[in-house]
Amino acid sequence: MDRRNFIKLSGAGLGISLVSSHYLLRAGSAPQGLAILYDASLCVGCRACQMNCKSWNKLPAESTDRRRIYESPRNLSERTWTLIQLRSATPGQEPRHRFWNKQCMHCTEAACVQVCPTGAMYKHPLGFTAYDENKCNGCGYCTQACPFRVPHLQISNILTGRAKAARCTFCQDRVPLGQKTACVEACPVAALVMGDRNKLLEEGKKRVAALQEKGFKKANLYGELEAGGLHRLSVLVDEPAAYALVSGIQIPPLINLWQRIIRPAGKFVMGITIVGIIAAWVIIRRNIKMEEVE
């Protein structure tokens, strides 16, 4: 093989590997399975969901910083997987309390699953994003990749880096047995319901239409298309930004570029280097007479 053919072939190989890896990863992404529907117009902010989540998952209590009047603790953490937050109206608007149940959104195209190098974060056949703590090595990539900043690290030793990721698992130890999630079970006003995602999608749209009729013009359903389709759908009474949500948010583009192009290309380049070295060695061994080498 001469140099020109070699370059041609390696270029073609690179192209094929890029395209094929792109399609392999793209396949099978239609959102199916279960979902939770949270209706912010029904939520009374009682925090029963938050309590029952802690109770079922045996998560220790956290001290609060006393700086917020309602939210306690301030944000999701490795020990708080469901949190009721209070979104007050922006200045100049009619004062209104908006409660927001913050938990894992169980994205169909989940950034945590994409970046997890151990397979600890994975998509469950029932649609939600499950987690295998035994596989986690505490690298923390998920905590930095999630567009909703949901996973957190439980760091047990700063020096050695010993840590485990932690986040809502859709009660993976209850739901496959036919039970509801702890948060849904606890909700006294049915602001949280669980069921087939397609049915909840319809239900959510009906509720949004009803709210709009009542005068909540900005009411909307959050999660139909975000991150490939969320398995935690939300009926919002105001625009997503009022809940600190980004409409149409997707997996960070850099993560797609990294996982779908840079990593396969890197493997290809390293493979070609090894093959090239072996080929070069075979050729030079034939061409050189060792007696003449100085």
Binding site: T118, N137, C139, T160, L254, I274, I283
Partner: protein, 236 residues
């Protein structure tokens, strides 16, 4: 014969110094940190090695990666402290001239096909060694900056910055590993480069090897060019 006497039955090799003890020692410290770093890093990259990345094994991989990183960071810094003049001498060798272009044109024929005569004379480091050196310096800086930010910056820098650090660390690894594979091959397996491993073990190189591979260093630039022209003429 380039200061090398061949008498009846045996070859006498005249050795000339090339690397100091500290340089050789730190070269192997670098090797002893780089290889564990690559291995413990690749467990996050190659699906075949994924079981090593999981759970308790993965925690050990991360710990070893960080311990090796300390050596990896310290080694060039130590060199600069212990032998700053040698470091400066080596850096000065990185200048480029027309012979580097000649090297690029002839590299394939020289390294793969074994054609000696067209290769222009090279300095203490040939163009390939300069490329290797530059890749090592740049990738060292990239590894250290992105690695330290990932190690200590989680939660301090923004998630966006952190993600870039992970990706840049990956890209740097791909480039550095490819360069390392070529470096390893030339050092241990390429039949023409037999003196490379000797000089990194014992600090010396053979005079005839230096004359053949590093003529501008051995003879000086002017004499090296004259010899090169004289060698080239009859073939043209």
């Amino acid at each position: 014969m380039n200061g090398q006497a061949q008498e009846s039955g045996y070859i006498q090799i005249r050795w000339i110094p090339k690397y100091t003890f500290i340089e050789r020692f730190l070269h192997w410290v670098h090797t002893a940190s780089f290889i564990p770093l690559v291995v413990t890093g690749l467990v996050l990259y190659l699906p075949l090695l994924q079981p090593l990345a999981q759970g308790e094994a993965g925690l050990w991989m991360r710990l070893i990666h960080r311990l090796a990183a300390i050596l990896f960071i310290a080694e060039p810094v130590l060199y600069g402290i212990v032998q700053p003049r040698r470091l400066w001498l080596n850096i000065k060798e990185f200048g480029l001239d027309r012979d580097d272009l000649g090297w690029v044109k002839n590299a394939f024929g020289y390294y793969v096909l074994g054609r000696h005569d067209d290769m222009p004379p090279q300095g203490r480091y040939n163009t390939g060694e300069k490329i290797n050196g530059l890749v090592m310096i740049v990738s060292w800086a990239a590894f250290v900056i992105t690695g330290l930010i990932m190690w200590f910056g989680k939660g301090i820098v923004s998630a966006e910055v952190f993600r870039w650090m992970v990706v840049l660390h990956d890209i740097t690894m791909i480039v550095a590993v490819c360069m390392f594979l070529v470096h390893l091959y030339l050092a241990v397996a390429h039949p023409l480069m037999w003196a490379a491993l000797v000089s990194m073990r014992f600090g010396v190189t053979s005079a005839s090897y230096a004359a053949e591979h590093h003529a501008k260093w051995y003879y000086g630039p002017k004499r090296a060019r004259e010899l090169y022209q004289a060698k080239k003429k009859p073939t043209r």
